[in-house]
Amino acid sequence: MTSIADQVASPPIAGPADQPAKAARSAASAITLPAVGERELRLDLFRGLALWLIFIDHLPPSLLTWFTLRNYGFSDATEIFIFISGYTAAFVYGRALLESGFVVATARILRRAWQIYVAHVFLFTIFLAEISYVATSFENPLYSEEMGIMDFLKQPDVTIVQALLLRFRPVNMDVLPLYIVLMLSLPLILFLMRWRPDVTLGLSALLYAVTWEFDLYFTSYPNGFWAFNPLAWQLLFVFGAWCALGGARRMSHMLSSPITLWVCIAYLAFSFYVTLTWYVPQLSVLMPRVIEHWMYPIDKTDLDVLRFAHFLALAAVTVRFLPKSWAGLKSPWLRPLVLCGQHSLEIFCLGVFLAFAGHFILAEIGGGAALHALISLSGILIMCGVAWVISWYKHVADKSGAKKAANADLAGGG
């Protein structure tokens, strides 16, 4: 154990003399990385899609909401986002770990976590402004009970400190704290992955099971718990990391088997049917009570097994029908999605902000469905525009620091 730790703690910065040792170590380690330079556009595409769907889901429900994933099965865009985040983070920082050692990789991961934290605090400030406005200008006797939620404004000192501690988290601001905790655990995950990827995944599943068995959770302020329990959601993140570090390749046999395909399709169909019964209660006649009893409620906080399985099935089917080499990935039509996915942190924050702003406009103008659709659409266009501008900054405006640019772009994937 100590020998491994020592090995990891001394980054190979010694220069050429160190090269053979490094190569040997890379070869000896259990994880493998795809060749340098090939960016997995499918990941960007689907993360971009997840960001759009999260944005739409954060707006009040409208017609567009019917196009979002959660209406067609158990899992939703959050699963995609966390999985792909795990995948890209492991991809980027796993390489850093192999090339520069544990300390450097950890340092870079911590910097990334700090960026996410700052983004979270920024969003909280905007949220505070919005909620203060609503509290002071809106007094509908119909909702006198619900308005009690604003009571925390009477103690701004406590509230703000709790927010900085990630314990006070308004609705829709749950994903970033989860992401921060997952990033903070990434050095450990990568460290274990380098030792035994499969064991790491097993440990992660064990933690998930223990969380369910003993009902472990993170408390929040003023009471309650984290809406996304990191102890459960880490499974998806670690699974993403495991896939990135060679797991996907090792699974490819299983993925290409027709049995897997049909099991997945059957499960997706079942899940779609169950979802349908929520909207068309007449259908639930055909649903045995026993199954209903066992199945409900499908828990999002602790990443219900049904949700996880739904995501796996969805991913398996997608990977099968959308090959990496698919020409459409480079088509200009999908470019906006890919761009959004490539700058996920910025676009995610922007999406949360736009959802706040959208709520606000709808509330002020008393929005009809047309305005609602317009807001959703302009939100997505703004996300694409900003993604394009960020991309322009990285590739054109910051070209003077050319060497760094490539790195930051990849790190942006983390």
Binding site: S144, E146, V171, P297, G328, S331, G368, A373
Partner: protein, 250 residues
């Protein structure tokens, strides 16, 4: 190329299909689609009481959203009673309300036994979930509490209807009601009791333009109209669940 086109086409379809902006002034009927008022669960004790010609004693237990401050007579429990009297002229309907502001389900349940001993209602309408959602009570604890409450009410000899939280668009970004809605649905299913889906119904009204629930109106008028409609829908729900409709009475 193709997926992009399809996505674009979907959007265009979405915009084209969106109904035109609503006119805020024209009052609408606040009708509720049948699927939001249909339930497979029944109210046997209510049905027996009505068929035997006994009085129908109803108890509404709820938090602040079951009343309108300074206008209790316009709140949905009173409107329910008035509507039931209209629809079932042959029945004497007594209604009592037990408003417990700032009380979570877990805090309310221990008092149920005593409450039931005093009132002995045929039907208990229990509105809950809002306070729990505002306090982010653990959904599992919430489900257990609602479950225990339903059992206590049933053991005391009453039929039970659950009412879930209001749809409150202004506080949507601040209160996450979904887990509580889901758990109430689960409890209702587990005990085979009717759930009056106030959230979905008010949501529907807001979408259809019957009410502008985003409104910043300070007056009490909107609250009165919404409660009137809720009372009417709830009376229909009770009559259907107890199979007391004109077609079913024979």
């Amino acid at each position: 190329m193709k997926p992009g086109l399809i996505l674009g086409a979907l959007w265009l379809a979405a915009i084209a299909a969106a109904p035109p902006a609503r006119a805020d002034d024209a009052p609408k009927a606040c009708d509720v689609p049948d699927n939001l008022l249909s339930t497979e669960s029944v109210l046997p004790r209510v049905a027996d009481a009505v068929k035997a010609g006994r009085t129908l004693d109803i108890l509404v237990i709820g938090s602040r959203s079951s009343t309108i401050t300074s206008a209790e007579a316009s709140a949905y429990p009173a409107r329910l009673q008035a509507n039931l009297k209209d629809r079932l002229p042959q029945v004497t309907v007594n209604l009592a309300t037990e408003i417990q502001p700032r009380t979570s389900s877990e805090e309310a349940v221990p008092g149920f036994v005593k409450l039931m001993e005093g009132k002995k209602p045929t039907l208990v309408i229990w509105q809950t979930g809002t306070v729990d959602a505002m306090r982010s009570v653990d959904p599992d604890d919430f489900r257990n509490a609602v479950d225990a409450g339903v059992v206590a009410l049933q053991e005391a000899g009453a039929d039970v209807i659950l009412i879930n939280p209001q749809y409150s668009p202004r506080t949507e970004t601040m209160i996450s009601v979904t887990p509580y809605l889901d758990n109430m649905r689960a409890v209702a299913q587990g005990h085979d009791i009717p759930l009056f889906d106030r959230f979905a119904i008010m949501h529907q009204w807001n979408d259809e333009g019957d009410f502008d629930l985003f409104s910043a109106a300070h007056g009490i008028d909107l609250a009165k109209r919404v409660h009137d409609c809720l009372g009417r829908a709830l009376s229909k729900f009770v009559i259907d669940a107890a199979h007391l409709g004109p077609a079913q009475q024979n």
